[in-house]
């Protein structure tokens, strides 16, 4: 009785929140799942039934293994549980196999590995000191933060409906951030190194990690004005950091180096053959660029400035093919996107070096890196916005400005995930869950910062409210109009352009707030 009471009792709200969301995840098991489900089933089969030397060469299914080795090992470990559920799913030739037991196993594997995410959120809540507020539980920053993270709409639909393993990967990232806050830098660095070898998309935020560790860990002291004290450099720390990264990489890539397969592994990890934009444009700079190009080409055709015969057919009829050709504006190469991304990241990284503000500054830089690469990266997935949304939650309970940026970024970012779920039975779920998360996040943060100036200007409010009509138009009006057959891409195009505006705005606003923030050395008494 007492144990039951403690386990679920009134004071232990965190476990109630975590259990609640876990149960919700269980309810989502029968929902639609995307081809990513088959991707992961195939990886289970590859790692289970083939020798290591074959892992990155196997190509029976079109969904070849294109994550770093740790993830392959992760699938290998999972496959040893999977064989007790259904041996058939571990057969490489069993394409598109999805028995009910396979479904149960795969869904539960995501739910169980999310335990790491829950633990990471728990650690984050311990070390984030948000704004001091009312005594009421629901108004405490820790409570709000854990809801924002645990019940994150994006994670729920991407992991538990669409099907991916972002939960425990984000958990690793949050845990490494929490370790930095707890001054356990080595552990944080180790966790991030491991994370990189799970999913290489986290390379986007690697600059923030590198510069922060170098500046605030390897240099042990600052001058009184906050600038760097060159003679405080600690070689021991640098070498131990280097050793950690080296050992983790050796463990991950070593076997493939020994097999002389590294080039093959890398060619799988970085496929530049894909187009600039994903099938559905992620709401970033390139979406705006492509939309502008489309508008210009239409205007050009109307004014007879362009020759219709010279325009590539695909771009006019669907606009959603993999290889997208711009008609008026110059086409973009991978190198150009790479340079743009670097340029966009540089100021934030410089800021981290010259105005170190402890782990909080690092967190801002990390978010900026994630957002910059989302804005300018090559073949960005809309899901990558979670990379910025989750760490931004940590900032949101601290300052009103950050809360406002967080809300704009999250709401538009989450809305841009809507096209991931296009089946009718999931329509109510995504709308209700989105409403749930959005009303909660906006209202709770408003309550938290009710004594400061309003979180949104009228323009921001107007923009966010505009998402409602946009959803109504895209999903309830447009399919019944005659344009549905002629221009089926219009809802997606509208969604990504509309969201791109919001995300660009949030990115710029965050940049401005980071760059104009006074350096911590001058404000703090130390």
């Amino acid at each position: 009785m007492a144990a039951l009471g403690i386990a679920t009792g009134g004071s232990n709200w965190f476990s109630a929140l975590a259990l609640g969301v876990t149960l919700l995840k269980c309810l989502l098991i029968p929902t639609y799942h995307s081809t990513d489900f088959e991707v992961h089933r195939n990886w289970l089969a590859i790692t289970h039934s083939l020798p290591i030397s074959q892992w990155y060469y196997e190509a029976t299914s079109e969904w070849t293994l294109d994550y770093p080795p740790f993830f392959a090992w992760f699938e290998y470990a999972l496959s040893h549980v999977a064989k007790y559920f259904d041996q058939e799913m571990l057969n490489v030739r069993n394409l598109n196999y999805s028995s009910s037991r396979t479904l149960l196993f795969q869904r539960f594997s995501v739910i169980f590995t999310d335990a790491l995410f829950v633990y990471a959120v728990h650690e984050c809540c311990k070390c984030i000191d948000g704004k001091k507020a009312g005594k009421e539980l629901t108004e405490k920053p820790k409570f709000i933060l854990s809801v924002l993270l645990l019940w994150n709409f994006g994670l729920l639909i991407v992991d538990h409906i669409h099907f991916q393993y972002n939960g425990f990967l984000s958990g690793l990232m949050l845990l490494s951030i929490a370790r930095f806050f707890q001054k356990r830098h080595m552990e944080g660095a180790f966790l991030f190194a491991v994370l990189l070898h799970f999913k290489h998309i986290y390379l986007y935020v690697a600059p923030a990690y590198g510069v922060y560790l170098l500046r605030s860990y390897c240099f042990t002291a600052n001058k009184p004005d906050g600038s760097i004290r060159w003679n405080s450099f600690s070689f021991v720390r640098l070498i131990s950091l280097g050793l950690i990264v080296f050992l983790v990489s050796a463990l991950s890539l070593g076997p493939f180096l020994a097999l002389n397969q590294l080039p093959q592994v890398f060619s799988r990890l970085f496929p530049f053959k894909r187009g600039l934009c994903h099938a559905y444009w992620a709401p970033n700079f390139w979406a705006l660029y492509s939309a502008l190009d489309k508008v210009l080409s239409v205007i050009g055709l109307e004014l007879k400035l362009l020759d219709p015969n010279k325009i590539p057919k695909a771009s006019m009829t669907s606009g959603l093919v993999q290889q997208f050709q711009h008609t008026v504006l110059p086409s973009v190469t991978p190198l150009a996107t790479f340079i743009c991304t670097l340029i966009a990241m540089l100021p934030s990284v410089f800021c981290l070096w010259f105005k170190p503000q402890g782990p909080r500054g690092f967190l801002r830089c990390l978010i900026l890196c994630a957002l910059s690469s989302f804005m300018f990266g090559w073949h960005v997935h809309e899901k990558a916005i979670l990379l910025a949304v989750l760490p931004m939650s940590l900032l949101s309970v601290g300052k009103a400005v950050d809360a406002s940026i967080f809300l704009i970024l999250t709401t538009t970012g989450h809305y841009s995930l809507f096209p991931l779920l296009f089946t009718a039975p999931e329509l109510p779920i995504k709308i209700v869950l989105m409403l749930l998360f959005t009303t909660y996040s906006i209202s709770s943060l408003k309550t938290l910062f009710r004594k400061e100036k309003p979180l949104f200007t009228w323009m921001e409010t107007f923009y966010l409210l505009g998402l409602g009509p946009l959803e109504v138009f895209c999903e309830f009006v447009f399919p019944f109009t005659s344009w549905n057959l002629k221009y089926p891409f219009i809802p997606l195009l509208l969604t990504s352009v509309y969201c791109a505006v919001g995300i660009t705005y949030a990115w710029l606003k965050l940049y401005v707030s980071v760059l104009t923030d006074p350096p911590v050395g001058k404000t703090k008494k130390q």
């Binding site: 007492a2 009471g5 232990n12 309810l27 098991i29 009421e136 309550t447």
Partner: protein, 507 residues
């Protein structure tokens, strides 16, 4: 209300759970020739849309009453007609006469589920929210917590969105009735309750408390002055609403009689399938259904029901109070469920609704009852392949109740509302102080039994001689629980009014 956003979150959470449960299987999915309640509802749409209103309740070549004939009151039929109209607009095949029999498709399932959600959203959920907002003497936080818990009650969700029925409509109307009557909008309240009865005749389980409460109110105002006026007004409202609902069937005597025959099929036997009531549990030892003649069965069940609900009803008539009304609703519905004739396992929802209403007053016992009520439907839920959503929603409901009401700290005599009872018992047995502890142990025992029985039912194969062993066990255990709860609620009712009288004396 400053924390309206938490209330919104509670409602949205309830909606999410409802819709995710609805993605699961429904009763009789892919099981010809009879299918299940899902097909029944679809068939009613077919019948009401294609046949003239005169033929709805009659057997004919177009309307085989043996195959899911309409056996609910007119409002259900009108609702089916309305749904059929929308269905025709989307896809006429869904309701085509004869040819649509056993129609199943993903799109149709989506449509049917959506009709349930819309009805729920229009009737039941607003009533719950309003009821919780109007609760007196508790903090905003508790109001939101009780709304969340009521909306998460797994029994109703699983039957409406899993098994497939429209209980939220009749229960929602009944709840509107409770709201109206409790806050002195007597006419609107009785109108809402008449609608509830005309949607499902099972709502008659609630009718006695309504009647007694309103009668008591009239008595209180004085039967010669205002009370008489109120009584006449009430009578007119009730008659008018019934006449309106039944208008098409009042044209001929035979029509009315036929509808009544369909609504109260007395020849169908004392109980059907496995129900957690006295008769079904008792027939484990003695097959009353086969031994006693039919009319004696009816008499016995009538007498038992009447006797068991009499004390509570008399108390309510003499001392009408909203609180007493809610508890009497519970005990009357429970008496009907346990003793009356032709009870379905789903009728336990009629008891659960008033128990939900007293959730904030006696959180521990209500949570316990609501858990047992869901457990009692286990055989049905398993038949519909709803094991997974059942387990998950029950756990979610338990966590919600345990966290928001910290039920385990609320087991003192005071919080179980047993203070007066134990004081009066202590006059005779001075050592009567162990009641809370016993109840705690009983709770633990009951939870363990329920978990074990669930696991056994799911994993073990019953012995060949006794194929229904586990479902009978489930019913038997639940029935014991319900008897215990009947005693408990009657104790509260009896000793509470005594308390009220003594308080009045002090005043």
């Amino acid at each position: 209300m400053e924390k309206w956003y938490l209330m919104t979150a509670a409602v949205l959470l309830g909606l999410t759970v409802r819709w995710t449960v609805s993605l699961n299987s429904y009763s009789g999915a892919g099981k010809p020739p009879m299918f299940g309640d899902y097909e029944a509802q679809r068939h009613w749409q077919e019948i009401t849309f294609n046949l003239p209103i005169k033929q709805w309740y009659f057997n004919s070549s177009d309307n085989n009453l043996q195959y899911w004939g309409l056996d609910y009151p007119p409002l259900t039929a009108y609702h089916s007609f309305l749904c059929a109209y929308v269905a025709k607009f989307i896809n006429p095949d869904w309701i085509a006469l004869h040819t649509s029999r056993g129609y199943e498709s993903q799109a149709h399932k989506l449509f049917m589920r959506a009709t349930v959600l819309i009805a729920d959203l229009l009737i039941y959920i607003p009533a719950v929210v309003l009821y919780c907002c109007c609760l007196k003497e508790i903090s905003t936080k508790k109001k939101i917590a009780s709304a969340l818990c009521i909306l998460l009650y797994p029994g109703l969700i699983l039957i409406d969105y899993g098994h497939f029925q429209y209980n939220s409509v009749s229960l929602g109307f009944a709840l509107w009735g409770v709201l109206g009557v409790s806050y002195d909008w007597d006419l609107l309240g009785s109108l809402a309750f008449c609608l509830a009865i005309n949607y499902k005749q099972m709502e008659l389980y609630h009718s006695l408390p309504f009647f007694c409460f309103l009668l008591g109110k009239c008595f209180k105002k004085g039967l010669k002055g205002k009370g008489l006026v109120l009584l006449i007004k009430l009578a007119c409202t009730v008659v008018a609403s019934f006449v309106l609902c039944w208008l098409p069937f009042f044209t001929e005597r035979e029509q009315t009689l036929q509808v009544l025959r369909r609504l109260f099929p007395v020849d169908r036997g004392l109980f059907e399938d496995k129900v957690a009531n006295i008769w079904c549990s008792f027939s484990v030892f003695l097959k009353i259904r086969d031994i006693l003649p039919h009319h004696i069965q009816i008499m016995i069940s009538f007498c038992f029901t009447f006797l068991s609900l009499l004390p509570a009803c008399i108390k309510l008539t003499l001392h009408p109070s909203p609180k007493g009304f809610r508890f009497t609703l519970v005990s009357c519905a429970l008496s009907f469920f346990l003793f009356s004739f032709q009870v379905h396992e789903k009728s336990i929802l009629l008891v659960s609704l008033p128990v939900c209403l007293v959730l904030s007053e006696i959180p521990f016992m209500s949570t316990w009852f609501l858990l047992v009520s869901t457990f009692s439907m286990l055989p049905l839920l398993l038949k519909d392949e709803l094991l997974m959503p059942s387990v998950v929603t029950v756990m979610a409901f338990f966590i919600a109740c345990a966290t928001s009401f910290s039920i385990f700290e609320k087991t003192s005599e005071e919080e179980l509302q047993l203070k007066c009872f134990s004081t009066s018992v202590r006059k005779y047995f001075t050592c009567f102080t162990f009641l809370p502890r016993i109840i705690q142990h009983l709770f633990l025992l009951s939870v363990i039994t329920m978990i074990l029985l669930t696991m056994m039912t799911v994993t073990l194969d019953p012995p060949q001689k006794l194929p229904d062993l586990f479902s009978v066990l489930v019913c038997f255990v639940s029935c014991l629980h319900f008897l215990f709860f009947l005693v408990y609620f009657n104790i509260i009712i009896m000793w509470d009014s005594k308390n009220g009288r003594s308080q009045k004396k002090i005043n």
